[in-house]
Structures are given as structure tokens and as C-alpha cells.
């Protein structure tokens, strides 16, 4: 890779051992992906919950945190993805004091590095929204796909170590979605039925994701521009993108007429001939839901998460649950970012949800917070959610997931069984 004088100095250790580790790590990854050089980034976003860090990861962070301040502090705004545990709700979720202790160690280490503990996977809605053309080092696949596609910013999936490295050096190897050539549409889908709600948007992401199934493919999703109801909103695209990234490892999509790099289908394919479109209609949605259906089953836990809820989703949920009571044999867990939680507390939304028997957790996103241990401690197996991303990923932790709209999730939580 071509290095600037500053980068050569970092590599030589002149900016301390943390930045030297960082640039070595970035060069190994950059060479793997044939990056010609580095590109400066505007923000880094670190996925580093303690469940995935483990003791080895936390001890490694603590070594960096013990360096002198000029050698350890990040060079660009660096923020965090959801944590492993919420101090305000972990006892109600039957997480342990040992989990809280390792979480506290990780937070102390990150703070010593100058990292802002935003603890959110919806930073594009709530912290500092990326802008078109801005290079970023974002962790969390849902954040990357939203930043690339909806905001026209440029990021690869950056795992925790790589995102931290980008924070420390202020740059990232220029490969993948930093380059124009990778951002051109390669697959083509035509949606015949407008999704009715957030669960449907996630289902659509799942359908397109399963069919695309590669980090290096860019699906173009047509049909949206003709809908009389208008374009999808941020929450709808959030669920669509999160599911698309989860089911297909996809980092970017175009939606002609909606996303900024594709005013028209021709723009989405950069003037190249569009591939034959795969049609997606009512039958595809029905088949997607049927893969997770469990009508009549007792429901152990209803989860609203993955991604964290926006303030608007919190209000929708509170409106559906007002004056009702969650079944005593069923738990209801809602996750959002710390900032949205403050807003929801202030506006009375948290109280409305918790009066009905729900738990509102901040700075976590359920699946990143010891999901297997929570299942065992609470006796949870059947999980109901309106997040297609969550139904895709939670089975590996021993859950049996079912997908339904927010309304049906609440009705089922009240009934104690899937209705």
C-alpha cells in the first residue's frame, strides 16, 4: 500500500504502540483486499459488546487504556454500538453481576481511549447522521448498509478491532464500498406489493438478502417509486436494511427514486444493462412468514429490538399497549438507545410500556446481550418479534423465533400465546 509520511511515522511507532498496532492491522486487511492506500474517515463506530469481547478482548483493551493519554486517544469521533448489558435493567433480565463487572471494565477502557459511549445501532438517526460521500469506519451491519445506501456515505463492515484501529489512525484502507466500482448495482428485484408495516419491510430485506447472499453484490430494488403512498420512511428503511445485511451479508442497496446514488434505475446500474428483475410479490412474503410460523404456541418472550427503536417506534408501541397487561407467563423486552430512552422517559412513553408489564432497556439490542444466558435464566424459548433480523440470528442462541407485526406481537404478549 502507498503510505503518506504521517502513515509511515505511525508504522515506525512514532505515534506510540496503539497506533502502530492499528496501522499494522489495517495494512494486513488492506493488502488482503488489494487496497491501494488509506482514506481519512469522519467517524468510527465500534461494535464491542462484552459477550463477543470476552475476557481476552477486555484485557487487550485495558492494555491500550494503560498507555499515556497522547498515545491512546482516538483521532476522530469514535462511538459505540449497543453494549452487553444495561445497568438499569440487567437484574430484571436475570443477567449476572459478573456480566456487569466485565461490562464496567470494558467501558472504563473505552473511555480512557476517548471513545464516546453512545451504545447505539441507530446512530444514523440519533447521533451524527452520515452525509453523502463521507468516508466512515462503521461497525454494525445495519449501520453500514443504511449509511451507504440511504445516506450515500462510504463504509465497509468494520469489525470492532478494525473500527477502533480507524479511530486511532483516523483513516481506513480504501477498498470495497469506499470505491465507486463496488457501488454499482449487480442484482435486480422488482417489488409488486408495498410492505404494510416494519415487519414486512424486514421480510422484504430477508427475501432480497437470501437471494443476494454476498457482501460483494449490490441489489437494486425497484417498484418503490410508483407507490402512491410515497417512499418508505427512515424506520422502514432501517428494518429493510438491517434484515438485508443480516440475511445476505449485504452492505449496500439502491432503491431508484429513493436512495441518493440512484435517482433512476439507469443510475443504479451506472448505465450498464440492468439484469432481468426478480419479481417479489404477496406469495414471497407469505412464504417468508410461514418459515417462522407457530400460531397457537405459548410465547415466552416478545422482543422489540434489532435495530433499537426510534422515538417514533416507542410511541407506536406505547399506543398499542396502553391500558393492557402483558400475560404473567410472557416477558416483553424493548430496547432503544440511551438518548431515545431519556426522551421516552421524559415524554412518558417508558412509563406507559412498563406499566403494562414491559421492560425498556437502554444501550443494548437483545441479541448482543448474553441472549443464550438470558434464555436459560428466564426459561425462554419461543420468541416473538417484529424484527426480521432478529428471527434470522436468534435461533443460534437456542430460541424458536416467530415474526409478526408490532400489533400482533402486542396482542400475543397480552394473550400469552401467538395469535
Amino acid at each position: 500500500m502507498r503510505l503518506t509520511d504521517d502513515e509511515k511515522a505511525i508504522l515506525a511507532g512514532e505515534a506510540g504502540p496503539a497506533r502502530q498496532w492499528a496501522i499494522r492491522h489495517q495494512m494486513a486487511v488492506g493488502q488482503f483486499f488489494d487496497a491501494p492506500d488509506f482514506v481519512p474517515v469522519g467517524q468510527a463506530h465500534i461494535m464491542a459488546d462484552t459477550e463477543s469481547l470476552g475476557e481476552a478482548g477486555v484485557a487487550w483493551l485495558e492494555e491500550l487504556a494503560a498507555l499515556r493519554a497522547p498515545e491512546r486517544r482516538v483521532r476522530v469521533p469514535t462511538i459505540t454500538d449497543p453494549r452487553g448489558l444495561d445497568p438499569g435493567s440487567y437484574k430484571r433480565l436475570r443477567q449476572t453481576d459478573a456480566m456487569a463487572a466485565i461490562e464496567a471494565r470494558a467501558i472504563a477502557a473505552f473511555e480512557a481511549l476517548g471513545v464516546l459511549m453512545t451504545n447505539t445501532c441507530i446512530n444514523y438517526q440519533t447521533v451524527l447522521p452520515p452525509v453523502r460521500g463521507e468516508h466512515l469506519a462503521m461497525g454494525d451491519t445495519g449501520v453500514v448498509i443504511y449509511s451507504n445506501s440511504v445516506q450515500g456515505a462510504r463504509s465497509n463492515f468494520e469489525g470492532g478491532p478494525s473500527a477502533l484501529a480507524a479511530g486511532l489512525t483516523g483513516r481506513t484502507p480504501r477498498y470495497g464500498y469506499h470505491l465507486d466500482g463496488h457501488r454499482v448495482g449487480t442484482r435486480h428485484f422488482q417489488v409488486r406489493q408495498r410492505p404494510r408495516d416494519l415487519a414486512d419491510w424486514g421480510a422484504l430485506g430477508g427475501i432480497v438478502g437470501k437471494a443476494t447472499n454476498s457482501y460483494w453484490e449490490v441489489p437494486v430494488v425497484g417498484g418503490v417509486e410508483s407507490w402512491v403512498e410515497g417512499p418508505p420512511n427512515s424506520d422502514e428503511l432501517k428494518h429493510f436494511g438491517a434484515a438485508l445485511a443480516s440475511f445476505g451479508s449485504v452492505a449496500m442497496f439502491h432503491m431508484p427514486g429513493v436512495t441518493p446514488e440512484a435517482p433512476t434505475p439507469a443510475d443504479a446500474f451506472a448505465g450498464r444493462p440492468a439484469p432481468q428483475a426478480v419479481s417479489i410479490g404477496a406469495g414471497d412474503f407469505e412464504a417468508f412468514y410461514a418459515g417462522y410460523a407457530a400460531a397457537g404456541d405459548k410465547v415466552d418472550v416478545v422482543v422489540f429490538a434489532a435495530p433499537q427503536l426510534s422515538l417514533i417506534e416507542m410511541q407506536q408501541l406505547a399506543g398499542l399497549i396502553d391500558g393492557r397487561h402483558i400475560h404473567p407467563e410472557t416477558s416483553l423486552v424493548v430496547t432503544t438507545s440511551p438518548e431515545i430512552k431519556f426522551a421516552a422517559d421524559r415524554m412518558g412513553l417508558t412509563a406507559r410500556i412498563e406499566t403494562a408489564g414491559g421492560i425498556v432497556a437502554a444501550g443494548v439490542c437483545f441479541y448482543q446481550s448474553y441472549a443464550r444466558e438470558m434464555a436459560e435464566a428466564n426459561g425462554w424459548q419461543r420468541l416473538l418479534t417484529n424484527s426480521a433480523k432478529l428471527v434470522n440470528i436468534i435461533a443460534g442462541y437456542g430460541y424458536k423465533p416467530t415474526l409478526a407485526s408490532m400489533e400482533r406481537c402486542i396482542d400475543s404478549a397480552v394473550a400469552g400465546k401467538i395469535v
Binding site: 478482548g57 470492532g160 478491532p161 443460534g396
Partner: protein, 138 residues
């Protein structure tokens, strides 16, 4: 003559081991029981099998940024695969392998390695040279 497969330059140390192959994908967070060292997602083709010390040969890495931390943590507990061979990886597993110093290669000239390498094959991985050698077959 062993079978020599050329691939893109990879990452990590040269290693030799026994292959565990499936026409399926990989996510450390969603597919594995990392405490037992086995595949645990019921729909995964290797569900129930141990990956510890094996050369894993799969098609692609799936969503799940956490895998970047998890490989190092698995290696620290002695419960990591010896190397990972993909048809085409996403960025996360390459970053995670770099962090964990676990060998990883992808992009084979002869096509999808899950169709070229069989479970039980003795395989030599040389990431710097971009070579994978199947030692037990001609």
C-alpha cells in the same frame, strides 16, 4: 502429486490440518456454540460438529460484526479453527482473522473450494503464497 490450488494472497501463518467442509456459510456469533466449540444453529449443515483445530472450508462469511472479536477470544481459549478457507469472505472475517492471527484465504482460481476440498482431507494452507495443497489426494 498432491493437488495444489491457487488463491488470492491471504492472512496469517502457514498451517496444516484436517478439513471440515460444507456448502454453507459462517458467522461466529450466529452459527456456533463457542463454549463447546461446535456449530449450533440448527439450520447449519455442520450443526453438532466440532470445528476446533480444523481447517474450515465454507462459502462465505455472513452478517455479524462480532466475529471480528470472537475469533481471537476463541483462539485464547484454545477453541478456534486452525484456518478458515472461503470461496469469498466478507470484510469481517478477514479483519477478525488478522486480529486473531488465524490463517484465512479466499478467491480460488479453480472456483468454489467447498467443491474442491472434502471433509477429512489433509490440507496445507500457505496464506502469503496464496496456495492451498490437498496432501492426501492426487
Amino acid at each position: 502429486m498432491p493437488i495444489v490450488l491457487k488463491c488470492h494472497r491471504g492472512l496469517g501463518p502457514a498451517v496444516t490440518g484436517t478439513a471440515l467442509v460444507a456448502q454453507d456459510n459462517f458467522s461466529a456469533r450466529y452459527d456456533l456454540d463457542r463454549l463447546k466449540g461446535t456449530f449450533s444453529r440448527p439450520a447449519h449443515k455442520l450443526c453438532g460438529q466440532s470445528y476446533v483445530g480444523r481447517i474450515l472450508v465454507l462459502q462465505t462469511a455472513k452478517g455479524g460484526v462480532a466475529s471480528a472479536w470472537m475469533l481471537r477470544e476463541m483462539a485464547a481459549r484454545g477453541l478456534a479453527p486452525k484456518a478458515i478457507v472461503f470461496d469469498r469472505t466478507n470484510t469481517i472475517l478477514a479483519q477478525g482473522a488478522a486480529f486473531a492471527e488465524v490463517a484465512i484465504v479466499d478467491r480460488f482460481e479453480a472456483g468454489d473450494p467447498t467443491t474442491l476440498i472434502r471433509t477429512g482431507d489433509e490440507v496445507r494452507i500457505e496464506p502469503d503464497a496464496g496456495l492451498v495443497t490437498i496432501l492426501n489426494r492426487d
